[in-house]
């Protein structure tokens, strides 16, 4: 993103608060925060499987809008499609148990934060399967995660 041609004045507005990517990130944070909160509100009355059913109905318009924006053109990679569909199935299973956790009387903030710890598994699997190396930051992150899990189990 940074140009090395010396046109720093032009590039500068793309950093920090003025950057478009920053605001998209904020939209993401607000949307996912809203998703978690509404998931809890719905789960107070609706059982997890029905929550997952309704949640999926909500995702369909966005999927269709993305498909329309691409004029129906999708890459024809069988492996990519398999990973994508598998992602949906696993995300659905994770969503189902999240709704189940919210359906109990557990603390909403704690459940939301605890379930956001999923990068632990991604990082460990990336080390085991993709042979990626753990950086110092990730090691410290895993330690903090371990401490939080112990605290949550108290």
């Amino acid at each position: 993103m940074q140009s090395e041609s010396g046109s720093e004045e032009r590039v500068a507005p793309k950093q920090g608060w003025n950057a478009r990517w920053f605001w998209y990130s904020m939209v993401c944070v607000l949307c996912w925060g809203g998703w978690a909160l509404l998931s809890k509100i719905g789960s107070q009355e609706i059982p997890p499987d029905t929550m997952q059913f309704l949640f999926t109905v909500g995702t369909v318009p966005i999927g269709l809008a993305l498909l329309a924006a691409r004029r129906g053109e999708l890459e024809r990679s069988p492996r990519g499609i398999t990973y994508g569909v598998l992602n949906g199935i696993l995300s659905g299973i994770g969503g189902l148990t999240l709704f189940a956790a919210y359906h109990t009387n557990g603390n909403t903030a704690v459940i939301t934060v605890a379930t956001s710890l999923y990068p632990i598994v991604t990082v460990l699997l990336a080390v085991l399967i993709l042979r990626e190396r753990l950086g110092f930051r990730q090691v410290v992150g895993l330690l903090f995660a371990a401490v939080s899990i112990v605290i949550f189990s108290l």
């Binding site: 998209y24 990130s25 939209v27 944070v29 996912w32 925060g33 809203g34 998703w35 978690a36 909160l37 509404l38 009355e45 029905t50 059913f53 309704l54 949640f55 999926t56 109905v57 993305l66 691409r70 999708l74 890459e75 990519g80 499609i81 990973y83 994508g84 569909v85 598998l86 992602n87 949906g88 696993l90 995300s91 299973i93 994770g94 148990t97 999240l98 956790a101 557990g106 603390n107 909403t108 903030a109 939301t112 934060v113 379930t115 956001s116 999923y118 990068p119 632990i120 598994v121 991604t122 460990l124 990336a126 993709l130 930051r137 990730q138 895993l142 903090f144 995660a145 939080s148 605290i151």
Partner: protein, 138 residues
């Protein structure tokens, strides 16, 4: 150690979504981020027959049903915004930890919306977990 029911459910969520994180890395080697999201929705829809509640669907309050539906819309919109951030010059090493902070919205709104509070011990756990998520997402 005693594990509350919410904790055990949360562990399954963490494992399932953790695998998704890995598959997401692999799928974007073959598909664009948008296509990946479209196929993810296809995966969601493929499981709908398992969760179809039948007539029981109409027994719930409009408010709860609306919350469930809108939660789906917001989840998919959030994923689209994440991809848009990455497409518009955001570095994954910054955007991923930044967007991983979405639980903060819940922490701030829960006392107002649901009148829930957390204990000091829970607050310590939440703080450690947020630091962990930011460090691990980068």
């Amino acid at each position: 150690m005693h594990f509350a029911p919410w904790f055990l459910y949360s562990v399954i969520t963490v494992v399932a979504w953790g695998i998704v994180g890995l598959l997401q890395k692999l799928s974007t080697n073959h598909l664009s981020a948008e296509s990946s999201l479209i196929w993810l929705v296809v995966g969601f829809v493929a499981m709908e027959p398992l969760f179809y509640p039948g007539k029981a669907l109409f027994h719930y309050s409009t408010w709860s049903m609306a919350a469930a539906l809108v939660s789906g819309v917001l989840n998919a919109l959030g994923a689209w915004a994440l991809f848009a951030a990455l497409k518009n010059g955001g570095k994954a090493s910054i955007v991923s930890p930044l967007t991983a902070l979405y639980p903060l919205v819940v922490i701030l709104l829960v006392p107002i919306v649901l009148h829930e509070s957390i204990t000091k011990v829970q607050l310590a756990g939440v703080s450690c977990a947020l630091v962990a998520v930011v460090l691990l997402s980068a």
